[in-house]
């Protein structure tokens, strides 16, 4: 009975959009600063890893190294943007700024606040992808036909990492403890999700583990295929995996936050 309460479908109205708007308004205040990382980071990574390290790697699966990592850079940015927004960012708004308390004194519910936070986190992922695609395209490392599909997909992938971040926010005893999931989950994903080298280079067991439990693996698969301009049926598996896990964690994180905040 108690377990089932974590998977109750939350009642969310369009009010969640007002929370999204609030965060968007704050983001717009510092828009220049907020646009800098997704603009600069791919350039730095591509120069250092793609063209520097890439000279020694030459090619992976017949693709130049810079082109291999370019889609991974977008995927990593999608992960970081929403995970950090809904972990550190949401925690600060919840605990230090008491923003959630102020909002739930109005007709909005806590479910709507949390949903709005995650929708905003996903939007940040989408914004990052949108800024990075033209930068990477300038290097000629992305197929422009399908790359626009990366933008809506970045929202979906972003929502997944937003929900993951929110689950940790719901249980973290203090802000420092968010370092644990970053160190034990996010950083391994950054390295072992087929980002900078193909998964096939790892022992079979780890490959299975990555496919089963590391969401970034699936996000990288999809964005890499779109970046290469190759649509394969196997992408459906990644897409379904992401949608199912995202839906479960979205509902779970809202209920976990409710348990934390409604006393």
């Amino acid at each position: 009975m108690k377990f089932a309460s974590y998977f109750e479908i939350p009642r969310i109205s369009s009010n969640a959009y007002k929370v999204w708007q609030r965060n968007k308004d704050v983001f717009m205040k510092d828009i220049k600063l907020n646009f800098l990382p997704p603009f600069l980071e791919p350039i730095l990574y591509l120069i250092a890893l793609g063209f520097g390290l890439g000279r020694f790697v030459e090619s992976i699966d017949g693709v130049p190294y810079a082109q291999f990592i370019a889609p991974a850079l977008i995927s990593i940015s999608v992960m970081y943007a929403s995970f950090f927004e809904c972990s550190y960012g949401s925690y600060v708004r919840m605990y230090y700024q008491k923003t959630f308390d102020a909002i739930i004194a109005t007709p909005l519910t806590i479910e709507e606040v949390i949903a709005g936070e995650m929708l905003w986190g996903a939007t940040r992922s989408m914004i990052n992808a949108t800024v990075m695609i033209p930068v990477i395209a300038l290097f000629g490392l992305i197929d422009l036909r399908y790359s626009l599909l990366i933008i809506p997909f970045a929202f979906l992938g972003g929502l997944l990492f937003a929900a993951i971040g929110m689950c940790f926010t719901a249980v973290t005893p203090n802000i420092m403890s968010i370092n644990y999931p970053v160190l034990l989950f996010i950083t391994p994903m950054f390295l072992f999700s087929g980002t900078f080298f193909p998964l096939s280079a790892l022992p079979q067991v780890i490959q299975y583990f990555a496919v089963a439990f590391l969401p970034l693996t699936h996000v990288v698969n999809v964005i890499r295929s779109l970046g290469y301009g190759i649509l394969e049926l196997s992408l459906l598996f990644d897409l379904v995996w992401i949608i199912i896990v995202c839906a479960i964690l979205f509902v779970l994180s809202i209920n976990m936050m409710k348990k934390r905040l409604v006393v």
Binding site: K18, Q21, D25, Q97, K98, D101, A102, T106, T109, V262
Partner: protein, 301 residues
């Protein structure tokens, strides 16, 4: 018509009983105060009224609607000044009110008008474009009051509205609350400042340990529990002897003795004539005397 009706309202946290079967009713247009030491259950009661903390048992109706299933409607008629400042520090004064009005679905043009009015009402028009972090404590409180009014509430809940403010800022807030009451707004507040409650409230309750100890108008409560006057005298055995003889109502507080009476003149005459005590002073009784008498002088954490 009552705006808030609580019957056997109870709230427990794990093994702590925060609010223990209290009943009260607050009339429309009333200014109603909740008094009590820290941990008495005032804030918990306020949070249940605000529909943000679920009721454990009993019933709580606001505008005739149950708090457990009409939260959205109730909250749309209500303004809240929380104990802790929770202004949005990512925004300026003006933006705070505009963003907040969006949560109530107030159309933008209407909101702009109201916000200008409210800034004027709490005298913050000059600070319109200031980030809230750089406001003084009094300004923050005034802004929170303005924010609580963006939806033109019929019920205003204030949890220690003037905590930490200088006398000027307190008076401004009191003045504004009276004005709101005159316009028909029901005001419910908690406070540690007993003079504040005495001056403002039509009725009050004193809470302790989750229970309501007394209820009534400030003057009737004072009358009933301490009498209208207090004579303070230095503690000495002779005095106590004297008072016992007369069966006077008194309390020893360290070096002082408080004698509760409806007729201070009679007591002071008695003390000078019969007991030859001359060091004393008489003053009208206040809510503070009632408060301390009912809830004791032990420090609360």
């Amino acid at each position: 018509m009552p705006v808030i009706v609580a019957e056997n309202l109870r709230k427990t946290f794990k093994d702590l009983v925060a609010v223990d079967n209290i009943s009260f009713s607050i009339e429309e247009g009333e200014m109603f105060g909740f008094l009590g030491p820290n941990g008495a259950g005032k804030t918990t009661t306020m949070r249940m009224i605000q529909c943000i903390s679920p009721v454990t048992s009993g019933s709580l109706e606001i505008f005739g609607m149950d708090v457990s299933d009409h939260q959205r409607e109730i909250k749309s008629f209500m303004g809240v000044v929380p104990q802790e400042n929770n202004l949005d520090m990512d925004f300026t004064v003006y933006e705070n009110l505009m963003v907040y009005s969006r949560y109530f679905d107030i159309p933008k043009e209407e909101a702009e008008e109201r916000v200008e009015e409210l800034l004027d009402f709490v005298q913050l028009t000059d600070k319109k474009d200031t980030m809230t972090e750089s406001l003084s404590g009094g300004m923050k409180r005034r802004l929170i009051l303005a924010r609580a009014l963006v939806n033109r509430p019929r019920l205003l809940i204030l949890d220690e509205p003037t905590v930490g403010l200088d006398p000027q800022a307190r008076h401004l807030i009191w003045d504004r609350l009276r004005l709101l009451q005159k316009n028909g707004v029901t005001v419910v507040l908690t406070s540690h400042y007993l003079d504040e409650v005495e001056k403002l409230c039509d009725r009050l309750v004193v809470m302790d340990n989750g229970d309501i100890l007394v209820e009534g108008s400030p003057s009737s409560v004072i009358e009933k529990y301490v009498g209208s006057g207090i004579v303070e005298a230095e503690n000495d055995p002779q005095l106590l002897e004297c008072l016992k003889e007369r069966e006077a109502s008194y309390e020893v507080i360290g070096d002082l003795v408080h004698i509760y009476t409806d007729d201070p003149k009679q007591i002071t005459d008695y003390l000078t004539m019969e007991c030859s005590i001359t060091k004393f002073s008489a003053r009208p009784a206040t809510l503070e005397d009632v408060f301390l008498r009912l809830t004791g002088r032990r420090l609360r954490e």
